[in-house]
Structures are given as C-alpha cells and as structure tokens.
C-alpha cells in the first residue's frame, strides 16, 4: 500500500485517496471537426506504460484537492508529487528501471518468473 504525500496535507495512507488515471490528457481542439477514431482515442485510450507514469490523484477523504504524481508502475515507487498547475517534470529526469518493454525491475516487483 502506498503512502502518498499530499501537497496540501502531507503524507497519508493511500486509502484516503482516489486515483484519477493518466495526467495531462488534453481534449482535442475542434471536436466538431475531428473524426470518430480520433475522438474515440481521446475518450478511451490512456497511457499504460510499464515504468514512468504521470497520473492524477485526489485526496477524497482529506482536503479533496486534485494533484499530479509521477510513479514507476514497475515498482510502485512514487518519484514526484506536484500541484495541478505546476509544470510536468521531464521524463529524462527519472531513471527507468525496466530495460525491455515487459521486463522486470531488479527490485520491487512481485514477479519472480524471470528473475535470474
């Protein structure tokens, strides 16, 4: 279970928060003109990386404020938490623990099937 450092309330148990999925998703401009496919991508498709992931959380059972978070989905390590109006941290400022797209990190995964 995660300990999440709410930028307004400080570190709290994950059960106080709700996950809001991928952060920085932009609604496409000119929605009247774009095709079904592009619109469908905006509605249904979200990033799902094994590794560095930008996501949103809301402190539902606390201050009820939204904020952004960078988490490594291969280890669940929270790398950075920033307010909703702050700039998105650059991807290359984080270390990627996964060498191949579906590879396992050295530490932090419950999957022992491919560990040497």
């Amino acid at each position: 279970m995660l300990i999440i450092d709410c930028p307004y309330c400080g570190p709290r148990d994950q059960s106080e928060f709700s996950n809001g999925g991928e952060a920085h998703v932009k609604r496409p401009d000119g929605s009247a003109e774009i095709g079904d496919r592009e619109w469908g991508e905006y509605v249904f498709i979200r990033a799902n990386p094994k590794g560095i992931f930008y996501e949103r959380w809301v402190h539902s059972h606390g201050c009820r404020k939204w904020f952004n978070c960078v988490r490594d989905t291969s280890t669940d390590e929270i790398l950075k938490i920033y307010k909703i109006d702050e700039e998105r941290p650059k991807l290359d400022s984080f270390k990627n623990n996964v060498k191949t797209p579906s590879g396992e990190p050295n530490l932090g995964s419950g999957n022992f099937t491919v560990k040497k």
């Binding site: 619109w39 469908g40 797209p101």
Partner: protein, 416 residues
C-alpha cells in the same frame, strides 16, 4: 509420440516409481521463421496454437513465453467458469467457451478437473435484485442455464452463509448450475502437450522485446533469443499486451492493474459451490485440496508489480468474515497478484488491427480464465482466416471509434 493417459498407464508408472513418464512437450530453440508466432504461453495462447494446428491445419507455429507455461495469470486466478453474461455478444462468446470446457478433458485426454458445481452471484440490495433478475432472463433467452434463487434456497445450498445479520443482507442470487471451476495449470499443460504433438514449438524463457512491422505489415518479433520472422503474430500477453502493442506503435484501450487472490489453509469440505458477490466484493470456492480460494479486487491505480495493495485484501477478508462468520478464525496460506488488462467496457478485444498480420487477444480484465478454450478457438479462427469468427466479431478494436461497446461491467463480477 502421442501420449495417452489412462488408469493403466498410471498403474504401470506407479510400479516403476513414476520415473519413466515421457516429457509432456519438447523445449526447442526458435527457428528463423514461423507462419504464426503467439506471444504469451498462458491458457489462451497455448489454446490458440492448439486450435490453429488442429482446426486450421497450420503446422509452423511457435508460442513464445517470457517465463514458464501458465506461470502468469493462468496460474494465478480463482478458476471460476460461468457464462451468465448479460449481452448477446458476450453470452455467445462465454457459452461457446463453456461448451468447449464440458468436453475439454476428453478432447485433450488430459484431466482439466472441470467441476460443474454451480456458480452463485449474490444480490445485496434492491438494485442488485433487479439487475440480476434481468441478467437471469437475458441468459434464459440465450439458452443459458440460469435461475433466480431466493434467500431460503441459498441457505439450503450454503448453510454456513450469514444472510441476515450483516450490513448488506443477502436477498437472493442468480445461479448457473453448469458453471464451476477447473484446474488452471492442467488447462495450460493439456493444451501445450497436444499442441506440441502437432508440431507447435513452445519456447519458454523467451521474452518478446519488440513487434517489428514494415510498411503496415508484420515482419516478426525481436526476442531475448534473437529475431524471429513471422507471417502472422498473435499477442495474448494479458497485462503486458499494451506495452507490447506500443512497440509496434499501436495504442490499445487497456489499463493494467493488479488483481489479487488468496488461499486459506486446507479444511474439510464445507462449501460445494462457487459463491460470488460483487456488491461486498468477495468470492469463494473450495479447491480439491480443501483450501478456500478467495478472489479479491483490483487496485485503483495502474501497476505491474504483481503484488497489489493490502487494503484490497482487508476489504475482501472483511466481507468474507461477515458473509461466513465460521471462517473468522481461519489462517490464510498465501496471497498473490496478477496483472490484468482492463478495457473501458469490461469486455475483451479479439481482433486484427491496422497492421497486416498482427492480431490481439486481450482486455480480458478480471475474468479471462473462464473463456480460455472459447477465446483460443475464435482467436485461432481470426488469425487463420484473417477475419473474425461470428462469435468474436463484436469484440473488435473498431468499437472504440464507433461507440458500439459491449458494456459488461454488471456481469464482470469484479468492479472496476
């Protein structure tokens, strides 16, 4: 050599101390080229290879697997099999699968221990009652055995259940008598053995690194054992399907999350059916060894850690103890998490895509095990014929542009 199992072969090998059983499949090195490569050696992938060889006459097939056969979600699930889905498209798909289950041990000459002990889905409130009764009616219209049980009928079947003295009382349930459980490992092993006999190369410890395409056509797969060319590639990698699709520049509407389950210490037979409750989120059956197999939920956030948060277990155990006070002092033996790929409409994708020769069978989310033979069967058809079988035609990728979703959140049992 065709391996036949019978009471005589067991007796013969028992006398020899079980030392002479033949290997169930070869462990070949990959060839340079295959007609079809299946990425993912779980039940769905091995089944696909089996049906490709058996029903479509393809011989030059490989299944590549990152770890060992059935070591992913096939070996990590709660093995519940049912077909009581709401919409026609899903009902046909899961019923197709259930019919194949009913004959699978005979067909593979390998005991998958399919046990039709019935599956119950509990209703805890007014809305549940309406929703479940609607589903029972829809099932009956599709020729699927499904009936409504009153509280008294539930108590008769499962006397240990606390139906009244709890926060969300049990008000009734749907019941599918033909539903049940199967031995998950045996499904993977049975398919693997029979596919191997027909010449399918099953290559373990071979991780797919990149799906290579050229001018909108499939070229092959870059793996940890080198590049393998192929005419067609089928990706059946459950939680990792999304990241593999990404290597070919394809974005799929999938989110990967851990789904947890836990198993208790073995006890004497106490529950002889499968009881599921999506409202309080606990489902349970008893394995042949006597362990209670308990299904928990998914975490709310994306993760590939195959572990899951402790709060999910707490919630499930809380519901279990309320529903079955008699389990209050039991010890849990182990807990695990598998990564499931969840689609926005809680229905799978069994489809070709923009790249010629590239196929996906994914998005099974929290309930793919029950579909193993059916999914494999129609996916093999889709790969061999380059077009969907009638049964899986609704489960295409285009539905996320057309909006023709197959919304099965109600029947999916695990809320997400």
């Amino acid at each position: 050599m065709k391996k036949k199992y019978s009471i005589f072969s067991i007796a013969k090998n028992a006398l020899k101390g079980h030392k002479d059983w033949p290997k169930m499949w070869r462990s070949p090195e990959p060839r340079e080229f295959y007609d079809v490569i299946i990425i993912g050696g779980g039940g769905h992938g091995l089944g696909t290879a089996y049906y490709l060889a058996k029903e479509h006459g393809l011989k030059n097939i490989a299944v590549i697997e990152k770890g060992w056969l059935g070591g992913g979600n096939t070996g990590r699930n709660t093995t519940i099999i049912r077909s009581n889905y709401l919409w026609d498209d899903s009902a046909h798909l899961y019923e197709h699968s259930l019919k194949l289950w009913e004959n699978l041990s005979t067909e593979l000459n390998y005991n998958v221990m399919f046990s039709q002990r019935g599956v119950m889905n509990l209703a805890h409130n007014e809305h549940d009652i309406k929703e479940i009764k609607r589903r029972v009616s829809a099932n009956n219209l599709n020729g699927i055995d499904s009936l409504w049980l009153s509280k008294e009928e539930i108590q008769k079947k499962v006397p240990i259940m606390n139906t009244d003295n709890l926060r969300y009382p049990v008000l009734g349930a749907s019941y599918q008598p033909r539903g049940g459980t199967a031995r998950h490992d045996a499904v993977a092993w049975g398919f693997a053995m029979r596919a191997d006999e027909m010449g399918v190369d099953i290559i373990q410890n071979c991780e797919a690194h990149q799906i290579k395409t050229k001018n909108g056509k499939i070229e092959g797969v870059e793996t940890s054992k080198g590049f393998i060319r192929a005419n067609k590639v089928g990706v059946v990698a459950s939680g990792h399907t999304g990241v593999l699709a990404e290597t070919a520049g394809i974005r799929l509407p999938l989110q990967s999350k851990p789904l947890q389950a836990l198993v208790s210490e073995p006890i004497k037979p106490i529950i002889d059916t499968v009881v599921m409750s999506s409202a309080v989120h606990a489902y349970v059956s008893q394995s042949d060894k006597g362990e209670l197999v308990i299904g928990a939920g998914t975490d709310s956030y994306n993760s590939f850690t195959q572990r899951g948060g402790f709060n999910i277990i707490e919630e499930t155990v809380r519901a279990m103890v309320e529903l079955y006070p008699v389990f209050g002092k039991m010890k849990m033996l182990r807990q695990w998490g598998g990564i499931v790929d969840i689609c926005p409409d809680a229905s799978p994708i069994i489809s070709k895509c923009d790249v010629e020769g590239l196929f996906f069978n994914c998005g099974w989310g929290t309930g793919g095990f029950k579909a193993t033979p059916g999914s494999a069967n129609v996916f093999a058809h889709t790969i061999a014929k380059n077009q969907a079988h009638q049964i899986n035609s609704a489960f295409n990728l285009d539905r996320f542009a057309s909006g023709k979703l197959v919304d099965e959140h109600g029947a999916a049992a695990v809320a997400h």
